[in-house]
Structures are given as structure tokens and as C-alpha cells.
Symmetry: D2
Subunit: 421 residues, 4 copies
Amino acid sequence: MKIAIVGAGSTYTPELVEGFLKEARALALKQVYLFDIDSYRLRIVADLVKRMVEAKGSPFTVKATQDRKKALSNADFVLTQIRVGGQRARHADTKICLEEGLLGQETTGAVGFAKALRTIPVILELCADLKKYAAGARLINFTNPAGIVTEAIQKYGGVEAIGLCNVPVGMKMALAKDYGVSYREIDFDYVGLNHLSWVRKVFIRGEDKTAEILEKEIEAPANIPKMNINPKFKRALGMLANSYLDYFYLQDEMTARLKSEEKTRAEIVEEIEKALLKKYQDPGLAEKPKELEKRGGAHYSTVAVSAVKYIALNSGKKLIVNVRNNGALPDLGPDAVVEVTSLLDARGATALTVGRLEPEIRGLIQQVKAYEELTIEAAVRRNYNKALLALAANPLVTSVNKAQRILDRFNQEHKLGLREL
Amino acid sequence: MKIAIVGAGSTYTPELVEGFLKEARALALKQVYLFDIDSYRLRIVADLVKRMVEAKGSPFTVKATQDRKKALSNADFVLTQIRVGGQRARHADTKICLEEGLLGQETTGAVGFAKALRTIPVILELCADLKKYAAGARLINFTNPAGIVTEAIQKYGGVEAIGLCNVPVGMKMALAKDYGVSYREIDFDYVGLNHLSWVRKVFIRGEDKTAEILEKEIEAPANIPKMNINPKFKRALGMLANSYLDYFYLQDEMTARLKSEEKTRAEIVEEIEKALLKKYQDPGLAEKPKELEKRGGAHYSTVAVSAVKYIALNSGKKLIVNVRNNGALPDLGPDAVVEVTSLLDARGATALTVGRLEPEIRGLIQQVKAYEELTIEAAVRRNYNKALLALAANPLVTSVNKAQRILDRFNQEHKLGLREL
Amino acid sequence: MKIAIVGAGSTYTPELVEGFLKEARALALKQVYLFDIDSYRLRIVADLVKRMVEAKGSPFTVKATQDRKKALSNADFVLTQIRVGGQRARHADTKICLEEGLLGQETTGAVGFAKALRTIPVILELCADLKKYAAGARLINFTNPAGIVTEAIQKYGGVEAIGLCNVPVGMKMALAKDYGVSYREIDFDYVGLNHLSWVRKVFIRGEDKTAEILEKEIEAPANIPKMNINPKFKRALGMLANSYLDYFYLQDEMTARLKSEEKTRAEIVEEIEKALLKKYQDPGLAEKPKELEKRGGAHYSTVAVSAVKYIALNSGKKLIVNVRNNGALPDLGPDAVVEVTSLLDARGATALTVGRLEPEIRGLIQQVKAYEELTIEAAVRRNYNKALLALAANPLVTSVNKAQRILDRFNQEHKLGLREL
Amino acid sequence: MKIAIVGAGSTYTPELVEGFLKEARALALKQVYLFDIDSYRLRIVADLVKRMVEAKGSPFTVKATQDRKKALSNADFVLTQIRVGGQRARHADTKICLEEGLLGQETTGAVGFAKALRTIPVILELCADLKKYAAGARLINFTNPAGIVTEAIQKYGGVEAIGLCNVPVGMKMALAKDYGVSYREIDFDYVGLNHLSWVRKVFIRGEDKTAEILEKEIEAPANIPKMNINPKFKRALGMLANSYLDYFYLQDEMTARLKSEEKTRAEIVEEIEKALLKKYQDPGLAEKPKELEKRGGAHYSTVAVSAVKYIALNSGKKLIVNVRNNGALPDLGPDAVVEVTSLLDARGATALTVGRLEPEIRGLIQQVKAYEELTIEAAVRRNYNKALLALAANPLVTSVNKAQRILDRFNQEHKLGLREL
């Protein structure tokens, strides 16, 4: 078995490889190819990864390459974790939006829109290569905004893709710590889109603990500012909300907070990464360093390895992933990508049925999905009009005049090549 | 034939009666009953109306009463145009919202929510009487928020109801003036909810003039502040937008505008009404005074008389009304009330099929409909939690913490009796 | 205005022209072109039609031609009433089916299937010419099986088409006679597919008379054998059933009946037509002869002229036609052609919403529609497998082994050119 | 853990118990209660079962009782396998139908209808007791017609129920033998209703073997007559058909076959059971006798034990069961019970999404489901009209006049108490 990691210069890669090391035998994993366009980061990360694999007795070989054909050829699984434009672009997007008082984060609001527009054309190019060099390979996408990017791949890439997010497993891990159980003993009645999801019910060892958990504070991801939400609303909602929902539920407060912060998240991450990459260069280091946890993407490895394993071994087990809706949420179209519990086996991921949505979450999900559809169309067709309509449809964009101004700036800043028709 | 007007103390009543006078013979209209709980306004308006009817040769009798049973008994049509709490409540709602920086108008945003919560219980009580005293009567509802109120009646009132709005005919009249045709020669491909609608295509004498019209400025209703929307967005949208959409498309600018205004719309209307009521008391006045046009509800009469006529005469003609969806917009549930072209005949109003919505309008329609559903549940069950979820689902409410604060104030101010469960 | 009649050699044509003569002025009708591939019949019918038009003062000109380009060029409306293979083919189909004990009629069962397979390729060729010579023309289709043929045109012809049937107006006329009213004073709550429809409610002058009418015998079309259906079933159903439903409700009895008859309907019609064509050649005849009524297609003219008029004059009136479903019946796909009340205006026909179907009619409608879909695919792709699946899906085909045998015979008899894949 | 078996006098019970014996430890199974209204059969079967359990070292206790309260109290799982009226009623149903030339089998056609009507009231009574004595227990239903009975329970029983059938596992076992693999290594893309299902794809060890398998003869259940279906149809269909589909695909041939048989299946089974019960009384017998295989219900035990295990152990594994549709097949309503791959865990069974159906199977599924809905309504309301409409909607009932005659006979024969309204 061969796995190719695209965007392997990411500081997350050691975490991912750590996961594959644990399951190398079960997976009969023979080769891991690391690909990145950034030769500096690729070399540093690859060297660390090679030391890690060697320290474990070299169950598989590791190759670093900047030749996409070599990386992809005959791969069984391709993992994508790219960041088009890097932290610089992310910083610019945030700044452009905040200058107009608009909110966002790399997956959410106008900032997420800008990232999607930069990313989709690149990922579709990758898909074209994938079909050429590794027909039948499975694409596992971590690239954010993961829901939109996965939907773009499924609609236009001609490649079977599953989108992964660490939030569901992260929520389970936080609860598991609290309850002193394994995260595998926790089941979620989970529904929504990537970074726009709710846990309707939590079962711990088969028992419904939702009411109890709603009264608790649950540890949120490191990359989301901690906000105070009034307890009456939490009680009225009666579900656990993904922390990213703070951007919607507390739009005004979050905007004020982001405006007040000295550094953008992009700038902070840039510093963390600089330190990490320095650390990675320590020739004595042969394991994932503890500092990686600050980076925000904890548990990605857990989800990625589970997904690969269930498919490769035809396990028929459930996992919360980004998958073609296919009727799971009848309030959305069948081609929408949704984040729901799915069954993973040799045929890939199949969504389990969920049923009609409560109105308190339905409207927002439908509106964000409409925005996502438009965003994909805009990116694929480089269509300015669709892009403007996408921004206008985003619930965090509170003025179409502002939308037009930021769109013109994105178009110029990132050379998106959007054309009015 | 007997028509009962509930909320007849409204200054609009003379306009309505003017319409019925024109069609009295065709309709075989014999009796018009005017009902209001405000004896002062009822007397003034009734006196003017009686003079108007007399001046036209008394084709039907006019009776004013504060006895609801008398007003409703054996009516064929009941027209509702009530304003629970009057302009005072409307003013209070607007102020409460603006203090939190939240936008709204009596049908839209948190202000519309407050009006809905006050109004639904009163209108459902009326429905109970209607079933008792005039089984089989048709209810024609103008009471705002007309879409929500009509949906509440259909779901919980047990009465056949159609909701009317003057916006569609107003848009046609504005275009008719521009093109020198009758508004009857204009056809719309019209879609949406009350005060949240779009004209996808305009046909003048059967010819598609949409592209041409999109480049023009169309006269908006008097009660909506005039805003500048960028032409790129108008072009990207490619449809005519209901003027009320400015609250959504230009939420930030509209908030700034409303904050900057010295008087609320409620205060302005109160003054207009004071002047109108004074004018109405002139014993020499026997027709609708020209000043009524400032009031904002132009053309209600045209729509109301058309609706009554098409049903009473089993005409089988089309009219844009608020009606049970029933599959017209498959992106919404069958029980949702939508504002679409319908066929009116003896059986009432039946929606024409419209089909799937474009994503640029679909998400917003779905989110507002989810909000409307929650609002109705909150009002019917006096449920604080549902009310809070309704506000949180409203796209113009940008913080659930603010939502909770204004909800507590509404609850107290209007004695809504909402209970947390 | 120009109307082209394709298949004008039909003995129905005088009836059609009689209708247009009555409305010639209102329609501003200038030219009627008669086209047929059968020169013998075309000449006879055209001569009679010319005498009829002349007798009424020649409000429009009549031209007979075998040049399709001439016939179609710049037509505003094209009426299709073709019978591919003539009565001979119809006779053969019936015989082939009866030999296997299978039931059918030119629109229903395996016999209707055979006609569809012969007809669809011819009608799609006509559509190709229509797009070339008369872009924007409306196609009004009477060709049977009208529902399937209209759906084929809408899906593959690239032409706007409406399918017409005389059954709904025929039912109204029968009731009108009974109640001494005009058929225009009767409204139906009508639902289904062509020749597979039900009247859920009958309103006479706006009053619901359904229960009363269910106890009566209503005159059926001349071409359907008179059958006895038990009154308990009629009461249980609670709707008026289209007479063609006897083929389904009394499949065994109808099969026995058809087997026992000496002549097929095709043979009888052939004789009627021979006599009619002889009559038509009488140079003294300048009106539709009374004998035409035996032919079975009474009132086609009424429906055809109404359809043309409502569209041409942008009337916005309702008519029961075969039209794109578009959500009217949510139990069927949006692209299915259904027979429902529609609004006709300059934009064509738009279905009114009907809503969910009762299970007692839903299953049969869905199964027949699935059969129709497969039939269209089989005809368009000349695909033997799809054809066999279509027959197997037809509720009147009670054995897939028999289906295979008759399909092989149809394929040979009519040179359908179906290929196994 | 306690399991109650209702209808334990069935000759299948030893097979079931054999299965539980194998998994007793894993399930922590402590008590098995056997309940039947037939004391003779209950005693014989219970004695054998007790010997079987003892022979395996008595991992759990076995109690036989005719006290329903005792049997159900605090059960964790209740398995229902009742036959209201016994083989005598089954025989009568078959004869009544065949006299009118109508086809059927205990789950299919008018014969299955009669069984459903007898069974539903009894099973709903059981549900009432279940709610009283064992709230929260899971009901696992084998009672035929399993799909209809399970839907009736879910709609009207107020009890969580899963319906099981041995056909899917039987098909897998037949293929497994052929391919020399374990049935667990075979995956189906499976879709339909109970006894009306198709395998769209077969994967053996993850590899698609459908095309190859379509050319083979697969062993059918013992209770279905072996029929010849033409290979062209099999190829056109391209899916494996459940053997029960022969009743639909070869309705005429199957009718002729059944008419020609000397004994009904009921009579044959009665003889088999007589012999089995005699065998069961052998005090030396302490295991399931080989002769049971003739009875027809092979592998029920495999499915039942899997279902109980996956739920009890919160396994999250897939199994093909009868389950609430919930959007899995968007062509059917959400409340329909369908037979599809589901995920079983502590929360019960959740259907996996399947998506739109091909027209060649869609129509028949929809029609049979409409029939099933009507049958349930008829049984629950004892409504003659609904019963007549149900029969008329059944694709194997080819005349509503015959339907009326057999319904009157069923009503009298089984004292169904149906009332015309």
C-alpha cells in the first residue's frame, strides 16, 4: 500500500505519520510519499519523518519529492493538506475583511470564501493528475474550508473524496477526559456541515448524557477565541454547538474581539510554525514534538488513520466525515457535501440517514450551503458575478456594498482572475 | 354578500371601501361591517365611509360595531388589518432593537418578530370566533407581518386564509407608469415570501423586459428609506429585488441610517394618522383624501378587491398572494406560506408551481422561513425558548446575547407571557 | 398568425378547423397549413376544409403541402396529430398482445408501448425541423400516447410543448348535459397522467357535487368498451375515474372482452374512416359531418382552440393539459409530464400545485410513470434492454417472458431497430 | 439480559436458540422466556429447547409460559414470530385467491394481504403489553408479512421495532458456497422492501462480481417454486432479484403453476411441522434436527442473533434489516419501512442512504408500498373501504371486482370485522 501526502511541508505531517506508524502493519503500508511545492519546508519535515519511521524500525519507506507524478503514481490513498498562499494570504484576507468590519476565519465568513477561491482551482488541477497517475485512488481531504473543497472535488474533480475534520473527534476527546472513558465509547447524534455542526445527543457507553453535558463547559479548539454565550440560549438550543458557531451566534461580539486583537491568527500561527520548524531540525528529534499541540489541529491523525483503515480493511465502521449527502439530510440537495456519521468500507463513505432538521439549525445550514454552492461555481468558472452573489449569501457578510469592495480587493490581491460577464 | 373589516379604525379603510364601491354591483355586495376595539377611530372612519357610500348611491349598507359576533356573523369575507398595541408598541420595538444595534421594521428583523408575537394570539382568537359565527367565510389578511400571520392562521386557526401585500402590485404600477401601459399588462415571474421576494422576469405585454428594467431605478414604497446599492450586485443578481430586501442586502448601512434618524417610522406614521383622522372628520369629505398616499399602503385596495372578486365570482384568475406552498417552491415545506402567483377561484387560492430556487435567493428564503416557523411556535405556545431560537435564526439578529436581552425586554414591555420551559 | 397541422390527413381535422373558424377573429388567424405524408388523405381533407373556410367567408387561408419546411416555416402554433403506421400497425399491436393474453389500447398497456416506440423517433425528427424553421413556435401535441409523446418532446425535442386530451372536457360535457349547465361552469380537482387520471372533486357552479355524481353513470368515450365495476369499489375510491382506468381496474374482465370481440378497435376505426373519407369527398359538404362523432375524439377541437387562444391572447386562464410536473405532484419527479390543471398564458402552460397523492392512486401513477420514462429512453436510444424493462414495468404486462416475446415481434413487425447492448 | 420469544411454539425456535447458545457469553444472556398461545406446541418446543440449553452447560435459563405479562416483563429483546390462524388460515387464503385466479403467497399478493389483516391487530395488542411490562425493550419482528407488520408497529405500536428477513443472508450464503468464502466477506448494494428487493451490486472481498454472478443460477428459498425467467430480461435488469419477485415478473406462469399443484404450501408445511414436532418429542434429541432445513426459514437465527448482538453490544455494524426509511430511499416517504443496509448500535437500526431508484424497480416498489400503507390503515381502522383500495392497489390483483369478492370472503372466513363506512 502507498500513501501520498500532498502539502507534506505542513507542520502537521509528523502527527499524521505518527498515526500511520501505529497502524502500519494492519494497513500493510509500504510507502509514504511526501510532496510539497515548498522545498525548504518539505526537506525539514521529511527529515524528521524519516527519523521517526526509522526509530520505529522502518515499517515503511518514506520518500520526499517535488515531482507530482512520482508522488501520486499508483497511490492507494492521497491525503491533501495544502494552504494556497500560505499564512501571508490568510493574514491579508483577515485584514481586508476587518477593515470593512466583516468577520471571518479561514473556513468561515468572507475570509473562508477567499481561501476557497484560491484553493479550489489548485485542488482540481491535482485531481486531474490523480485521475491520470492513480486511477481508483481515494482522496482524503483536510484542506480547508474542508466542506467546500470536498464538494468541489466531488462535483468537478471526478475523484472519490472524503473530507475530514478534527472537531468531532476533538469534542469526543474533551468529553472522554471529563468522563474518564475512551473517546471510542462516545456516540454522537451529529448533524451539519463542516465547521457548522451540532451534536443533538451525546451517548456515553450507550447512555444519553446530553442534558448533563449541556450544563458543562467543553474545551474548545485552540484557534477559536473563547466567548461567553448566555446560558438561556444554550438551554433553548438543547444541542452542543461546534465552537465555530460562535462566529454566527456572537457575530457582533466576535467582530469586536477580532478587531481588538493585536495579531491575526495567521500571524500567531506563522510564529508557532517558525518555532516548530526550528525544533523539527533538531537531528536528535525522532518523534512528534509536544509543541505541535499549540498549532490547533490536534487529532487530525486519529481521524485520518481511522478513515484510511476502515476503507482499506473494508471494516464497515462509522466515522463522522464530510460526504455526499445523498438524502441523509433531506433539507439539502443530494449533491451537497455534509458532515455526518457515515459508514466506511471498501466502497468509501456512505452517509447514514439523519432526517429532517429542526428549524433552529435548518435555516443556517441551508443558507451556508447555498453560499458554498455559489462559491464553488464562482471558483470553477472564475465568475465575478457568482462570487459576489456567494459573498452576499454568506450570513456573516452584512452588506453587499462591502461585499463588492472586498471582492475587488481579493481579486487583485490573490490574482483570482474573476471576470464579470 | 357581506364583508366584515376587522381593524376598521385603520386609516386605510377608506381606500378599501373605495375599491369595493367600484365593484359593488359585480360582487352583489350588500353589507359591509366595520369592527374595531378603538371606538374613537372606528367612529371617525365609519362616518367617513358612510358618507363615501352614500355619495355613490348607497349600493351597500355600512354598519360600525364593537360587537365581534355581530360583525362576523354570516360574513362571506373577513378582512383583517389589525395593529396590536398600535404605533406606540411599534415605536418601542424599534427603539429596543436600535439600542442593541439591531435592525428591523414592522415585518422584518427583531422588530417584525415582536409584532408577530403580539399579533398571533389575537388573530387566532379571532379565528375561533370566525369558525363559530361565520363557518366557511374566507379570511383575507393584511395584518403584518402578513406572511407569518397568514401561516399561523393556516396552521392553527382552522380557517381558510389568504395573505395580501401591496408590494407586487405596487411594483407593477411603478413599471406601468414608466412604460405607459396598464399594470394588468405586466406579468411577473415572482418568487419568495412576504417582504422577501424577487421578480425573476418581467413581461410587458408578453415580452421579456427584465434586462432593460434592471438598469432602471424603480420607485420604492414610501416607508422604506432610499438606499444606494452597487450596480455590480444588481447585475449579478439579475432579478428585481423587493425594496424590503435592502434591510438584508445593506444591513450595516440601514442600521446606521435608522440610528441617525430623529424619529422612528412609528412616530412619523402616528403624526400622519393624526392629521388623516382630523381630515376624515370633515363632514364635507365623502371620498378618500389624497393625503392617504403618504401613509405607505397604496394599492392595498386594488389587491383586496381583486382577491375578493376572483373568489366570489369563481374567476380562475391569477394574483400574487400569500398562500400555502403545497410544492410550488420545493425548497420549502408544503405547509409554509409563500408569496407567489396563485390562481383564485371559488375554492380559494392555489399556488402555481415555481420550481427550484437559485442558490442566491434560496438560502435567505429558507433561513427566514425557519425563523418564521419558530416565531409561530413561540407565539402559539408562549414558549420563551422557541422565541429565543426564533430570534437567533433571524438573519438580522447578529448576536444571541443581544437576542436574549431584547427578548426579555419585549416580554416585559408587551406582557407576552413567554415562559421558559 | 399561422397554424400548422401535422398529420392533417386525419379525419379529425375538420373538427379542429371548425373550432378555429369560430375564433379566427379573436386569434387574428391568417394562415392554416395542412401537412401529411399521405397525399390521398391530405387532398380529401384539405378540400373539405377549404370548402368549410370558404363557407364562412374565408377568414384565413388554407394551404395543403407535403413539404414540411413550407408547412412549419414561421408557424406560431404547430398541432401534431400523427399516427405512425396507421390503423394497420395498431391492429397488429393489439393482435400480438392478445395472442399472449396481454391487454392494451393505443395508449395503454403493451399496445400503447408499441405505438410510443414507433412514434417518438418521428416526432423528435419533427422537433428538429421545428427548431430550424419556426423557432419559438408552440407545439400542441394530440399524438397518442399523448403523455409519453409530450414528455419525450420536452426532454429530447428542445421544443416547448403542451399535450392535449379530450377526456377532461368530455367528462365535463357529459356532466354539463346531466346538470343542464355549460361545461365552463364545472370545475374539477383533477389529477394524474394522460389516460390515467382521477377527478377528486367536481364543483358545479362552485358547489361540490362529488358525492352525488359518484352514484351516477357517466357517459364514457366511444372507444372504450362499457364495463361493470362494482359499486362498493366506486364508493371506496370516492373519486371519478377516467374511463381508461377500466383497463387497470378490470384487467381480467377487459382481457376476456377484447379476446371475445370479432374486430379490433383498429379495424372498426378503419371502416369508420373509410366511410368518413367518402363522405368528405362530397363537394356539397362544407361543414364537419355528424358521423365524425363515432370516431371517438369528440371535443378535441374545444381543447385545442382554448389552448391556442389562452396562449396567443396571454389570457392567464386554467385548462387541464399535459404539462411538465415541476412540483405539482411532489410524488413524481419535476421533469415528468402530468395531466393537471394548468394556467395558460403567453409563457405557455404552468401547472398548478396539487400536493401529495392518496395511496390508492399514488402507486399506480408512479408505476405507470416509471414505465413511461423507460419507454422514452428505449425509443430515444433504440435500446432493447430498456424496452424490455419498460414492458416489465407496465402494470398490464403480467409476465416478463411474454414481454420478451411480444417485444421481439414488435421489433420485427415495425422495424424498430432496437439493439441489445 | 432477558429475551422473550413470542410465538415460541414455532418449529423455528430451536434454530433461534441454537444461535443464542453460541453467543450467550458475549451477550451476557441470562433468561430466555418462551411464550405461545398454543400449549401443545409450546410444551414440545420448550422441552427440546431446555434439553439443548442443558446440553451446552445451561449458560441461561429457559422458561415456558402462557402468561404474557410474565413473558414480557423487563425483557431487553422481544422476538415475535407469530402466525395468526396457523397454516389452516394460510391454506384458506390461498384457496380463496386461486379460485378467482389470483396469485399470492403468505407475504405477497392477496394472500399476504389477508395474513396482514389478521396479524396487525394481534401484534398491536402485544405492543400495548410491551409498553406496559417492558418499556424500552427492542422488538425484533420476524412475523410475516414482515415489512408491513414492522411498519404497522412503528406507526401505531409505539414500540421501537426492527423487521428481519432471512433472504439477504440466504443469498449471501448461497454465493459464499459458490465462491468458497465466508458470507461475511460478501457485501451487497441492496435495495427494496421485504420480499421485493434487488441486489444492485455484489462485492466479494471488496471486489465487484455482479456481472459474473448474473450469469449464474443462485439457489432460491425452498418455499418458492422454481421458475424459468428469460436470460434477456435478467441481463436487461442487471441486478440480482429476490426470488419472491418471480410472483411479479412471472405472474401468469406462477398462477398456472400454483393452480396445478395438488397441495398448497400451507398443507405441505403442515405435514413438515407434524413430522418435526414428532421428532422434537424424542427425549434423546438435544440439538436442532437436520430436517428443520426443509421448513424454509433457514438462517433466521443468523440474522436474529446478529441484530440482537449489534444492538446489545453497541457494535455499530451493518446489517440488512427492515427499518424506517428516513430518506434512505427518497422515492418513498420517510415513515415507510424499507429493507436496506442499516447500522445497528445501542440506538437501534439506522438506515444508510441509498439514493434515487432506477425506474425499472422504482415503480413496483412505490406501488407495493402504497398497497402496504393502505393495508395497515385498513387493519388498524377495520375499514372495509381501505381494505378494498389496498387490494385494488396490489399489482397482483388484476380485477377490483375479484378484489371485492375475495375481500368479502376473507372478512367472513377470518372474522376480520371490517366495516364499510
